[in-house]
Amino acid sequence: MSAMTDDAAGFEPSAGLVPSEAKIARREMVRQLLHSKTFIVGNIVVGFWVFWAIAGSRLTPHDPLEQTSNILKAPSTAYWFGTDQFGRDIFSRVLAGASSTLTVAPLATLLAIVCGTAVGLVTGYYGGIADDTISRFVDAVLALPLIVIAVMVLTALGSSNVTLILVIGLVFTPPVSRTVRATVLGERQLDYVQAAQLRGERGPYIMFVEILPNIMGPIVVEATVRLGYAIFAIAGLTFLGFGVQPPSPDWSLQISENYTLLASGTYWWTVLFACVAIATLVIGVNLVADGLQQVVDE
């Protein structure tokens, strides 16, 4: 045999590199992420809120639920962010308020990603009538205002964190499925899909074992973007009274409890800090999403 004369054998320029090439690619990705300022800043912000969501009232200077006689005090050294109409410390409530949002939003997003990916894979891979039917339905759902559907369902089923997760998760499934479907359409043109069909693989194997690992990048980006929207949606529903219930220190709950006080022109601190908290979390999540997007696109 002519083993020495073929490119598969003999001289070896990349010896030693080969087995860990996949790791090198992963390390390169991490390196790029660590060089992305957007990604780092986003992570610091999100990390800050995750820490407080876990630590909760154990580390806050006051018990966020404790009512005192110091009602509606302006920010001071004793109460950094002031107190609300029940004399509760707003600084502690803002820190502790991260936990409800950061429980409901990620779980709802996870649900949306799982369902949306499944639907997107099926519609993108099979195409044809299944795609036409499901995609038209998805378009129809996307045309309805999200809040209206959510309010309808929550009114019918009653508010609880579980229903909130289910509602947000299902309402976000169509947009996720659209993104996944578009990625699958590109991927299924590739010959490895045909090669799988030619050895007799069935649809589910091709979708979940062949295609899915190759589209994880876009799915992760979609998940982060959706998480930002989910936080907004929960904030909106809670504000309207369909979400988290009192006396939770949830941010939107704080806003809805206190916004009537704004009319008087004073007491701005009862609302402002909760608003800033929501804004920073959403911006932080979006910065992470941007950072991921850049690396995935490259």
Binding site: D6, P13, L17, Y192, Q197
Partner: protein, 686 residues
């Protein structure tokens, strides 16, 4: 050297590179891509830069026009364009130089044109930036398009880029490049994406324009045949180093660097066929970009290399005239040992027996925007056990559709496929595991054919499980066996395809297709994405596997030299119809169908024994609206009259084992083709 100096006094060279070093900065270290390249392009000269992928030829071009990627820079050396030092110029002067003195034509014309601006406006834009008024610019754009032999410039100017064929797009790009009357025109693989007949037209055009305008040309290509046809002098680039340079004819006839010698031997040519012997290959890999090399860049792969080659950089030895070689032992370069291989026993094909696979009157109609597109029309052929049937034709001829219909990926609209004397279900769903095992494919692009998230082992084991039911240690053993048979080292088993070179990926794809001991493997352009030295190794492998496994191939390729090497019989497709089918040698030596004749004459070869080229006029007609009568009559240089326009000739056996679809009788074709290529008037005569 002294002549060069003398000329410099008269007029500066169009381009001079002196000891040019280009580096790319990757992860905070400099990787050298060009290693002291020195060359010049004289005025009015066509200079060819040839080399395999990764050798730095495109980097050289980008350095000249100062378009290196952001992490690339010229570390040292000089670039002089038209006598001016490009590295010493300011930003504005450089822009001016770039817009007036140099033009570049890239590989993909579709990407070079703006898809949302009409062609006429885009071409006129070039003149407008040079100060022409609106009306004047339009007139000059029309002139420019006429100059590149576009027959109807008015209508082309009103169209968008995507409405033009690839050849037409490239003409437009060339027209724009020439609009500024540049001193230097750089062509970077300008015909790589084009069909052979279109490629020939574009090359003819460039040659004619060059002769006409006395433009200097830097022609970059991996194809020595094209370089031979187009260039006065050629430089061979390897791993960023110019290893040999000289007059094109001298280099091809008397190469003095082992790399050039090896490169020339890799190409299947001169009618070599698999039963005559194996192809030569170049062992090993090109050094990685930026690798520290103490000696000769080629030493690691050179079978002549001695100690000195690894430790001492060879200087540029002058071998008479302008011929230069960077090899310590350039006198011995041609004694580069050929590989000695055991003779293969290729399967004997007995066409008296039942064929392995046959298809009868196969047709496929695609619906496209309400139109019927006839991708295949009544194709009938058979493949016998152990035989290779070559399938050639331009893009859009139905090659891939035919392969997919046989494999069951698309269901044919009419006709039937018989396998081992039984009907084969039209789609994969209806086929048994036995059928799936028997028919497999090797795709053109291994990057797309292999799942980039699965390891080599997983890819192999899954195929084995599905096709043969092997699992566990039995599957591991068989995986090792298969990897061994394609010479894919076992340590790659845990790697993902991304870690393998192009050639290794294709080996893996071949190993996968052989997992279930197939009877017939469709090879869909398996080497067209690979460099010539790798191509030779893959072709050798396929032939070797055929000898060992007695497998049949349906071998699709646009490279007629490759098809000739591997095929026992050849089928020629045009617009979904079989135009000619015969033994490989019969089809090549003729008399052949006028279309086959044109295809063969379009290919630039390395040996020089080139036929005079037959011009095919116009583009391939659309399969949605095929011409009446003989579908080839609109382009046929041997059309004999109205019978060709009105009646479709039947596919008849003109001699034993030779089928043809042409109104001209065989003997007449023989006489006509012996007399040489048809002139334009001959085509019109009855």
């Amino acid at each position: 050297m002294s002549t060069a100096v003398a000329q410099e006094v008269e007029a500066p060279h169009a381009l001079e590179l002196e000891d040019l070093d280009v580096v790319y900065r990757v992860r905070s270290s400099d990787r050298q891509v060009l290693r002291g390249v020195t060359l010049h392009v004289k005025r009015g000269e066509a200079y060819g830069l040839v080399g395999e992928s990764g050798c730095g030829k495109s980097t050289a071009a980008l350095a000249v026009v100062n378009y290196l990627p952001r992490n690339g820079r010229v570390r040292s050396g000089g670039i002089r364009i038209d006598g001016r030092d490009a590295r010493a110029l300011s930003g504005a002067e450089l822009r001016e130089l770039r817009s007036n003195a140099v033009s570049m034509v890239y590989q993909n014309p579709g990407a070079a044109l703006n898809p949302s601006i009409r062609v006429g406006k885009q071409v006129a834009e070039v003149f407008k930036t040079r100060g022409a008024s609106g009306g004047e610019a339009t007139d000059r754009a029309r002139e420019a398009l006429t100059r590149v032999q576009i027959a109807d410039p008015g209508s082309v100017m009103g169209r968008y880029a995507h409405q033009l064929s690839g050849g037409m797009q490239q003409r437009v790009v060339i027209a724009m490049a020439l609009a500024t009357d540049p001193a230097l025109l750089i062509l970077d693989e300008p015909t790589t994406g084009l069909d052979a007949t279109v490629e020939a037209e574009v090359l003819d055009l460039v040659a004619a324009l060059q002769a006409d305008l006395h433009t200097s040309v830097l022609f970059i290509s991996h194809n020595l045949g094209i370089i031979r046809k187009m260039c006065d002098r050629v430089g061979v680039l390897y791993a960023g180093c110019l290893v040999e340079e000289g007059e094109t004819d001298t280099i091809l006839a008397d190469p003095r660097h082992p790399y050039t010698v090896g490169l020339l031997r890799c190409v299947p040519r001169g009618g070599v066929r698999k039963d005559h012997g194996r192809l030569d290959t170049i062992p090993g890999f090109m050094p990685n970009v930026g690798e520290e090399l103490l000696g000769c860049v080629f030493a690691g792969r050179c079978t002549l290399a001695v100690e000195r080659c690894h430790t001492e950089v060879p200087e540029a030895h002058s071998i008479g005239g302008s011929h230069m070689s960077r090899c310590h032992f350039h006198e011995q370069a041609q004694s580069l040992p050929r590989e000695v291989v055991a003779d293969l026993e290729l399967p004997a094909v007995d066409r008296a027996t039942e064929p392995l696979l046959s298809f009868d009157d196969l047709g496929k109609v695609f619906k496209q925007q309400g139109h019927d597109v006839h991708a295949l029309v009544g194709v009938t052929a058979a493949i016998w056990p152990g035989e290779t049937l070559g399938l050639v034709g331009e893009s859009g001829s139905g090659k891939t559709t035919l392969a997919r219909s046989l494999l069951g990926i698309v269901a044919p609209t009419s006709g039937a496929v018989m396998f081992d004397s039984r009907d084969l279900a039209p789609t994969l769903k209806g086929r048994s595991r036995e059928d799936l095992r028997a028919l497999q494919i090797v795709f053109q692009n291994p990057d797309s054919a292999l799942n980039r998230r699965h390891s080599v082992r997983k890819i192999m084991r899954r195929s084995l499980k599905k096709l043969t039911g092997l699992t566990g240690s039995a599957a591991d053993a068989r995986t090792r066996e298969l990897m061994d048979s394609v010479r894919l080292a076992e340590r790659y088993a845990s790697a993902q395809p991304g870690a393998l070179s192009g050639g290794l990926k294709q080996r893996l794809a071949i190993a996968r297709s052989f997992a279930g001991n197939p009877k017939l493997v469709v090879c869909d352009e398996p080497t067209s994405a690979l460099d010539v030295s790798v191509q030779a190794a893959i072709l050798n492998l396929l032939v070797e596997l055929q000898a060992k496994e007695q497998v049949s191939y349906l071998f699709i390729s646009h490279d007629l030299g490759v098809v000739r090497y591997v095929s026992d019989r050849i089928a020629v497709l045009y617009l979904g119809r079989l135009m000619e089918l015969g033994l490989s040698e019969t089809v090549y030596s003729g008399p052949h169908h006028p279309y086959t004749e044109a295809l063969l004459s379009a290919v630039p070869t390395v040996d020089g024994g080139e036929r005079e080229r037959i011009k095919l006029e116009g583009d391939i007609p659309s399969a949605a609206n095929p011409p009446s009568g003989c579908v080839f009559h609109t382009r046929c240089p041997r059309r004999i009259g109205t019978i060709c326009d009105e009646t479709e000739p039947p596919l008849v056996e003109v001699e034993k084992n030779h089928l043809m679809r042409c109104h001209i009788p065989l003997e007449e074709l023989r006489a006509l083709q012996a007399a040489g290529p048809p002139s334009v008037s001959a085509a019109a005569a009855p």
